[in-house]
């Protein structure tokens, strides 16, 4: 399991709709803000890269000191962004693919408005379990 990992889902209209700190390291107080900041800065790169490839998984697109940003873009242009310090491309890819499945289930819920915050606790538990398994 990675020591630091922060997972964020950004909707197509640039609104973060889900956030989770999934690392095992003891939390530093300012860590959450720092992670958000790095991921936010990486959004521009995602914007440029997303249209150059047909692959959904964009691999590591940015780094900050020893932290790496990996991104997965769905067909609807929802971005899954993971900030991590481990080097485990295969694990991250599987993680993204399974989260994508979960995200589709959320999207199929008629009572969920696309682009709004994901509040489902079931989704949260599942994502954390996947993070433990793959990262």
């Amino acid at each position: 399991m990675a020591t630091t990992a922060c997972f964020i889902i950004v909707s197509r209209n640039e609104i973060p709709i889900y956030e989770a700190e999934v690392g095992s390291a003891a939390k530093r107080e300012d860590a959450a803000q720092l992670h958000q900041f790095i991921l936010h800065a990486a959004l521009d790169i995602v914007q440029d890269l997303a249209w150059t490839t047909s692959a959904m998984f964009l691999k590591a697109i940015d780094r900050f000191n020893d932290l790496v940003v990996s991104v997965y873009v769905t067909a609807g242009h929802t971005r899954f962004m993971l900030l991590h310090d481990s080097r485990n491309d295969d694990g991250i890819k599987s993680f993204f693919q399974e989260v994508h499945e979960l995200y589709i289930k959320i999207l199929l819920n008629p009572l969920y408005l696309p682009g709004s915050r994901i509040t489902s606790s079931h989704f949260d538990t599942k994502v954390r379990a996947l993070a433990r398994k793959y990262l």
């Binding site: 289930k105 199929l108 819920n109 008629p110 009572l111 969920y112 509040t119 489902s120 079931h122």
Partner: protein, 186 residues
């Protein structure tokens, strides 16, 4: 000779026209979603779903009787069994069970383990009072009313609210005797 009432709807279900389950689920979901947007109050949505179900039920009973070949039920117990085993199978593709009879045989529970209406659905905090499948209770009420049984149908358990099954309580209020709207000599 009266035809023998089928004990299960499998055979009829096999001959029914069917639509894709996902399309069905999402269409129903979109309906509920739209009602929530239009009516705003969850209570109103429950009422509206029940009314919609009623309107479906009073028409559906005719198709049910035409296709299922069930004979006249001798008592309410048999009616409930037919709804659970034949009716649900025919139109939803699932089988329900009947239990929790009261002493007079006028009140029972129809229990659904599996419900195609609720695939993917999770109730958000803002809709906690919503009976998502309230349309089903309306259908049963409407259908039974057309065969001269006044009933009251309420939800007892709902998986979307954390219970382990769907339980509909069907209560027979009175049996309306059949009346002709005009006298013979008029």
């Amino acid at each position: 000779m009266a035809p023998v009432a089928p004990r299960s709807g499998d055979a009829i279900f096999a001959n029914m026209e069917r639509v894709n389950a996902e399309l069905f689920t999402l269409t129903y979901g979109a309906t509920v979603r739209q009602l929530l947007t239009d009516l705003e109050e969850v209570e109103e949505v429950n009422k509206q779903l029940d009314q919609m179900g009623y309107n479906i039920g009073i028409r559906l009973i005719d198709e049910f009787l035409a296709k299922s070949n069930v004979s006249r039920c001798v008592d309410f117990r048999e009616t409930a069994e037919v709804i659970a085993k034949v009716g649900f199978k025919m139109f939803l593709g699932v089988t329900a069970s009947v239990s929790n009879w009261d002493a007079d045989g006028t009140c029972c529970s129809i229990i659904l383990e599996d419900n195609p209406l609720v695939d993917f659905v999770e109730l958000p905090d803002t809709c906690q009072g919503l009976y998502y499948c309230n349309i089903l209770s309306g259908v049963i009420r409407g259908a039974l009313e057309m065969v001269s049984m006044k009933t009251e149908v309420t939800w007892i358990r709902d998986m979307l609210r954390g219970d382990d099954a769907y339980e509909l309580q069907v209560k027979l209020l009175k049996q309306v005797p059949e009346e002709y709207p005009y006298k013979d000599d008029e």
